[in-house]
């Protein structure tokens, strides 16, 4: 029997409790289930969570941190919710194991990366945060106006699924603008303060070149101090996956070859 959970903290948490009670295998509804096609499964969402918690409390003792829901709990929940956005499938294994460790040793143990699994999980979370942070820096908008409405359009390649968080971060910065961020899979569209997510293949919009590019190129090149040249560091800080729309990649390469 397999317990299927949704990509939400509560769903995974109760699946882990139910797994502890029954010994069943856990799997996300988003995981490819070729290996277990023949197996029967049960959806955790259809079970009574209160009963699961009561049974777990009776058998293994009270989970105080879940009852208190303090700062440590919020940190842990946030870690897992961010990790769920990571593109690697092995996140589920780490999340499940870390919840088990939290049940056994407490939240301080896992929140401070004491075990290998907790460390790996927090590293995944770190990568998601880094994706968000880089998106906030590396996204380049093209402003357009249609009548009274102002739009900022951008293309971005997301590894982890962070587009909604990114566009929310831009909401206050570009107050009064409608924002559209297109990725290879999803279009995130913040229109009149409402966020819409659409599949990219169902959205026919080409983001054209911005002539302002040349100003950025001049500004960027003028900032370079040849005596401090360190292209290895620059390449590390702007990974190649961003070079398809960041002009800096080509310039760093030219500096590398002493062409600039």
């Amino acid at each position: 029997m397999i317990i299927k959970f949704k990509d939400k903290f509560e769903s995974i948490f109760y699946a882990v409790l139910y797994g502890n009670l029954t010994g069943y295998y856990l799997s996300s509804q988003n995981e490819p289930d070729d290996l277990f096609q023949a197996e029967e499964f049960i959806e955790i969402e259809r079970l009574n969570w209160k009963e699961i918690l009561d049974q777990h409390n009776q058998k293994f003792g009270k989970i105080n941190w879940f009852k208190n829901q303090d700062e440590q709990f919020r940190q842990f929940k946030n870690t897992i919710e961010l990790a769920l956005r990571h593109w690697k499938q092995f996140k589920y294994k780490l999340i499940i194991e870390t919840i088990r460790q939290a049940l056994k040793f407490g939240l301080i143990y896992v929140n401070n990366k004491t075990s290998n699994e907790a460390k790996d999980l927090l590293n995944l979370t770190g990568q998601v945060k880094s994706d968000i942070h880089r998106a906030l820096g590396f996204i380049r908008f093209i402003p357009i106006e249609r009548g009274k409405e102002k739009f900022l359009l951008a293309y971005f390649e997301e590894d982890s699924q962070v587009g909604d968080l990114v566009i929310n971060n831009f909401k206050n910065k570009y107050f009064g603008y409608n924002l559209l961020i297109k990725t290879s899979k999803t279009v995130y569209f913040l229109y009149q303060h409402q966020l819409y997510q659409l599949a990219t293949n169902k959205f026919d919009l080409q983001i054209t070149k911005d002539n302002f590019d040349k100003f950025w190129e001049v500004f960027y090149q003028a900032n370079f101090i040849p005596e401090r040249k360190n292209t290895k560091l620059a390449k590390k800080l702007i990974p190649k996956k961003y070079w398809s729309w960041l002009k800096e990649g080509q310039i760093i390469n030219q500096v590398d070859k002493n062409l600039i």
């Binding site: 040793f105 407490g106 301080i108 143990y109 929140n111 401070n112 990366k113 004491t114 075990s115 290998n116 907790a118 460390k119 942070h133 906030l136 820096g137 590396f138 996204i139 380049r140 908008f141 093209i142 402003p143 900022l152 951008a154 831009f170 206050n172 910065k173 570009y174 107050f175 009064g176 911005d210 302002f212 040349k214 100003f215 950025w216 001049v218 500004f219 960027y220 090149q221 003028a222 900032n223 370079f224 101090i225 040849p226 005596e227 401090r228 040249k229 360190n230 292209t231 560091l233 620059a234 800080l237 702007i238 960041l246 800096e248 310039i251 760093i252 500096v255 590398d256 600039i260």
Partner: protein, 405 residues
């Protein structure tokens, strides 16, 4: 001159100012309008030298009445001089900001005619941004030497951060490379004005004031620099000091130093500065060699630990937060994690410490875990001869500190 050329010239002339921070936790301009502030700061790009670009850093003009020997914009330099119009610069910045190329504005300038007039024009640029564009984002305004308290106060209302570059650690050194500037009147006095403004009204200059020193241009040593830095942190409440390794960009024959300064020296100064600001080190504790410089072979914390081997090894399960911070390989985050973890657990292994974030190869010779030592038994024998070769001395020279007091 077309705007693209101006941008090129006035950016190129501003790039030696290394401050790139755009972090500001509170806005003095409310939240409604165009633009916002980030608590953490955002890097929008990195130059081929690896420095972060987060701010639209430009000069209003590269014309200057001063003839500072190290400066690319000195009046005797035969370079093309130009100037942005106030509105031209404000409009250009907004175009950069709207496209998310930058997180804010860093406005500096050469001194055209005099400091007051130039500063007025700089403030005009910011007024256009704040009042016409309703810009609520980050602005760092450079204060020009000798400017009056009235203008500083005007800027303090508009800017998030302000700074004036000290360039050298002492009066004597400044005279060598900036003969027209008066250390106390032109540089320290505006700093003290800003200190007073911040103290009296927390909404003004919310991201605090900073400064920059050019490292090695006047032949000063690290002890002089750090001594001045300590004084600036203690008495002027600077939130940060930037160090920029000297790069000879001029052919001035009377420059005291003509060679570029190593970036490693700059890095050591940042490390020492960090120890004072964040790790609770007093400047007297920092280790300098007989020439008054920080050792290049060891970072200052490691050098301090080597000089104070009698204080180690430290039991990880008992040491205070401050004591943990003194162990090489343990930073603020890992020290905090250790303290939190100890409430419920005992740390029992090197692996746990590694997972927490401790750099074991640096820490292992200085710690005990539940009374057990995992370092090299012969560590003292190996390290003491190196110590002898480097002639590290704890900093006992407080004479310089007295200069400003």
């Amino acid at each position: 001159m077309e705007i693209l050329n101006k941008l090129k010239i006035l950016t190129d002339a501003a790039k030696y100012d290394v401050c790139a921070s755009s972090a500001c936790s509170q806005s003095n301009w409310g939240s409604k309008g165009f633009g916002n502030m980030s608590r953490m700061g955002v890097c929008h790009s990195f130059t081929p030298d690896g420095r972060c670009i987060s701010l639209f850093k430009v000069l209003l003009t590269n014309q200057c009445i001063n003839d500072c020997l190290y400066c690319i914009n000195r009046k005797s330099n035969d370079r093309l001089k130009t100037c942005f119009g106030e509105r031209e610069l404000a409009d250009l910045f907004i175009q950069f900001y709207k496209r998310n190329y930058v997180e804010g504005l860093f406005l500096t300038s050469g001194i055209y005619k005099n400091s007051e007039e130039t500063m007025e024009r700089m403030i005009k640029v910011i007024e256009i941004l704040r009042f016409e564009y309703q810009f609520r984002g980050y602005i760092h305004l450079k204060v020009l030497p000798g400017v009056s308290p009235g203008l500083i106060n005007k800027g303090a209302v508009l800017a998030n951060r302000m700074s004036i570059n000290l360039e050298c650690p002492t009066t004597n050194k400044l005279e060598l490379i900036c003969p027209e500037k008066d250390f106390k009147h032109d540089l320290i006095a505006p700093m003290l004005s800003m200190k007073k403004i911040i103290k009296n009204d927390k909404t003004k200059i919310p991201a605090g004031q900073t400064t920059q020193m050019i490292i090695g241009a006047s032949g000063e040593n690290d002890r002089e620099i750090i001594t001045t830095s300590a004084w600036l942190y203690q008495k002027v409440n600077l939130c940060r000091i930037y160090y920029s390794a000297f790069i000879p960009v001029n052919q001035a024959s009377n420059l005291p130093v003509k060679e570029p300064v190593s970036l490693k020296r700059e890095s050591r100064l940042y490390q020492a500065d960090w120890l004072m600001r964040r790790y609770g080190f007093a400047f007297q504790e920092l280790p300098f060699d007989q020439t008054g410089n920080l050792p290049l072979d060891f970072d200052p914390k490691m050098a301090w630990a080597i000089l104070n081997l009698d204080k180690f090894p430290i039991e990880i399960n008992k040491a205070s937060y401050r004591a943990l911070l003194r162990i090489p390989g343990i930073g603020e985050i890992s020290a905090r994690r250790i303290i939190k973890l100890r409430k419920d657990f005992h740390i029992t292994s090197l692996e746990e410490l590694k997972n927490i974030g401790v750099v074991l190869k640096r820490a292992v010779n200085f710690i005990l875990i539940k009374g057990k030592y995992f370092g090299q038994a012969s560590f003292n024998n190996k390290i003491l001869p190196i110590l002898g070769e480097n002639s590290l001395l704890p900093n006992q020279n407080q004479e310089q500190l007295a200069f400003a007091l």
